[in-house]
C-alpha cells in the first residue's frame, strides 16, 4: 500500500473512527484446556492468544528465588501472522517486547506468595495488525486472572500516537507506518499507574500530556471489557436440558 495523502479527513480516520475511538474489541477468557489460564483478544484485525502456566516448579532450578516467584514472559508471532512470512523463533524485536511486557505485568502480581516458583506467560500473535504488544499485554492480564493468580489489579494497554498532527487512540498499521508518533502505554487502571511506556517519533510536551490522557481513556474501556470477559467466563452456564 502506498502512503495516502491524508490519514485524517474531516476529523475521521481512514477506517472511519474518530481520533479518540478504539477499534472493535472482543475478549474471551478461558479458551485453552491445558493452560492454567488463557485469554483470546481481537482488537481490530489483531488476533492474540495468551496462556499462563503456574505457579509451577521453576526449571532450571538455579533460577529459583527463595523468597518470591519469578514471572517469565514470551511474546511470539506466528509465521503467518504478518504479510511477509516471519521466520519462526525469537528475534531482537520479540525479545525486547517479551521483556517490557513482563515488566508491565509484574507490578500487579503477588509474586511473593509463591517462593521458588515460576509463572510463565505466553503471548502468541496469530494475526497481527498494529498494537500487538499492547493487545498481548491486555490478553496476558486476563489470562493471569483466569489462572487464579492473585493480583492487585488488571493491566490494560493501548497505543496512542500522532497522525497528521492529531493525537489519536489505538493506531492502525497505516497510522503506525506513516504517522509521526507511536506510544504504547500499559496502566494499572485502579491506581492510575503506568507500567509500560515506549515511544518513537515526535511529541511536544503538551502533545505528550494529551496523548497520555487519551491512553488512559482508552485503557478504561479496555479494562471494562477485561472485567466483563472474566465475569462472562464464570457466569452461570447451566446446560439444563429439561
Amino acid at each position: 500500500m502506498e502512503k495516502p495523502e491524508r490519514l485524517i479527513v474531516d476529523g475521521k480516520r481512514l477506517d472511519g473512527r474518530a481520533p479518540d475511538e478504539l477499534r472493535p474489541l472482543r475478549i474471551k477468557a478461558g479458551v485453552l484446556k491445558r493452560a492454567d489460564g488463557s485469554a483470546y483478544v481481537e482488537l481490530g484485525r489483531n488476533k492474540i492468544l495468551a496462556a499462563v502456566y503456574g505457579p509451577r516448579e521453576m526449571h532450571p532450578r538455579h533460577l529459583q528465588q527463595p523468597d518470591t516467584a519469578v514471572l517469565r514472559c514470551r511474546y511470539n508471532m506466528a509465521p503467518f501472522s504478518v504479510e511477509e512470512r516471519k521466520r519462526p523463533g525469537p528475534d531482537r524485536r520479540s525479545v525486547e517486547i517479551s521483556k517490557v511486557a513482563r515488566e508491565a505485568l509484574e507490578p500487579v502480581v503477588f509474586l511473593e506468595l509463591y517462593p521458588r516458583a515460576a509463572i510463565d506467560v505466553f503471548i502468541e500473535v496469530l494475526q497481527a495488525d498494529a498494537g500487538t504488544r499492547t493487545t498481548g499485554i491486555t490478553a496476558a492480564a486476563v489470562a493471569l486472572a483466569d489462572a487464579g493468580i492473585p493480583m492487585r489489579d488488571l493491566v490494560a494497554a493501548v497505543a496512542v500516537g500522532k497522525v497528521d498532527g492529531t493525537i489519536v487512540l489505538d493506531l492502525t498499521s497505516e497510522e503506525d507506518q506513516w504517522g509521526t508518533t507511536d506510544m504504547p502505554v500499559a496502566i494499572m487502571p485502579r491506581k492510575k499507574l503506568i507500567t509500560l511506556l515506549q515511544m518513537d517519533g515526535h511529541f511536544t510536551g503538551e502533545e505528550f500530556r494529551q496523548a497520555l490522557s487519551l491512553a488512559f481513556k482508552g485503557c478504561e474501556q479496555i479494562y471494562e471489557a477485561q472485567k466483563q470477559a472474566l465475569r462472562e467466563r464464570y457466569s452461570v452456564k447451566r446446560e439444563e436440558g429439561e
Binding site: 485453552l32 484446556k33 493452560a35 492468544l49 502456566y53 526449571h59 503467518f80 501472522s81 525469537p90 497481527a128
Partner: protein
C-alpha cells in the same frame, strides 16, 4: 520436552478399559472426538484452518513466497512444512527450536501432502532456474490434548484447499493447483486393542501408534509408526481398514 507424569493407577485404569474394548472418555474404539474446522482464520495467510479435535487445537497457515528453486528441479515449486509445539499448548512444551517431536510431526504431515501429489508443484514455477513459489505450511499447535498428527494434517490440507491466489502479476494460475485430499488417521495400540484418535491420556500409556495417510481412492501415500511397542501384520491390516474408513469421514471437513 518434559514428560507427562502418569500414575500407575491411571495407566492401569486405561489399560484395563482397553481390555474391555472401552475408552477413558467413553468413546468407541473407532470414534473420533468432536471435530471442527474453521477455514480462513487468519487473513495474512493465503490459506488457513483452525482445527479442533476435542480439546486439541491446531492452527495451520499457508503462505506463498518467492524463492530460488532447487538446482535439480529448476522449474518446480517448493513445499516446506514446519511445526511449532508452542509452550502455550502444554506444560511439557518448552520454548526453543523444534525438537524431535515437532520435526516428526512436520515431516509426517509433509509426506502426506507431498507423496499424494496433492499440490502440482510443477505449476508453481515463475522463472525457471531463478524463481519459483514456495508453499510454506506452518503448523501452530495451540492446545495439546493428544493426536496432534491428525489435527495438523487435517488443518494443513484444509488450509491448502482454502488458498486464495496471491494478488500479484507473477501469479498466472486461475487458482491454487491442488487436486487431492490426503487424510492422516492415527491408530493407537493399548493392551492389544486398536483405537483411533488417541487423546492425551491414551497417548501417555499407548504401546505404539501408527499413522496411515490415504487419498480419496483409498490408496496409501504415507505411513509412520511411532512408540516403542510393536504391531503384528494383522494389526496393521486392521489399522489400514480403519484408517481408510475414518479418512472418508474426516475428508468431509476439508470442504
Amino acid at each position: 520436552m518434559m514428560y507427562e507424569i502418569v500414575s500407575t493407577v491411571k495407566r492401569d485404569y486405561i489399560i484395563d478399559l482397553a481390555r474391555q474394548g472401552k475408552r477413558v472418555d467413553g468413546r468407541a474404539l473407532d470414534q473420533y472426538r468432536e471435530i471442527s474446522v474453521e477455514k480462513n482464520f487468519v487473513e495474512p495467510a493465503q490459506g488457513s484452518a483452525l482445527v479442533k479435535l476435542g480439546n486439541t487445537q491446531v492452527l495451520v497457515g499457508v503462505k506463498l513466497e518467492r524463492v530460488e528453486p532447487f538446482p535439480d528441479e529448476p522449474s518446480s515449486g517448493v513445499l516446506i512444512v514446519n511445526a511449532e509445539l508452542l509452550p502455550l499448548a502444554s506444560p511439557t512444551f518448552e520454548p526453543g527450536p523444534p525438537d524431535e517431536n515437532a520435526i516428526e510431526l512436520a515431516r509426517v504431515v509433509d509426506r502426506g501432502i507431498r507423496e499424494s501429489k496433492a499440490i502440482d508443484l510443477e505449476k508453481l514455477g515463475i522463472k525457471p532456474g531463478e524463481e519459483v513459489w514456495a508453499v510454506f505450511v506452518d503448523i501452530h499447535v495451540l492446545d495439546h490434548d493428544g493426536n496432534l498428527i491428525d489435527a495438523s494434517a487435517l488443518g494443513a490440507i484444509a488450509a491448502l484447499w482454502s488458498m486464495k491466489p496471491p494478488d500479484v502479476e507473477d501469479w498466472k494460475l486461475p487458482e491454487f493447483p491442488i487436486s487431492k485430499k490426503p487424510v492422516a488417521v492415527t491408530i493407537a495400540k493399548i493392551n492389544e486393542r486398536l483405537m483411533v484418535d488417541p487423546c492425551l491420556d491414551e497417548e501417555n500409556v499407548m504401546e505404539a501408534r501408527v499413522t496411515i495417510t490415504t487419498t480419496e481412492d483409498g490408496s496409501i501415500c504415507a505411513m509412520q509408526k511411532g512408540g516403542v511397542g510393536c504391531f503384528t501384520p494383522e494389526e496393521l491390516e486392521a489399522a489400514y481398514e480403519l484408517a481408510r474408513a475414518k479418512a472418508e469421514e474426516l475428508r468431509k471437513f476439508i470442504g
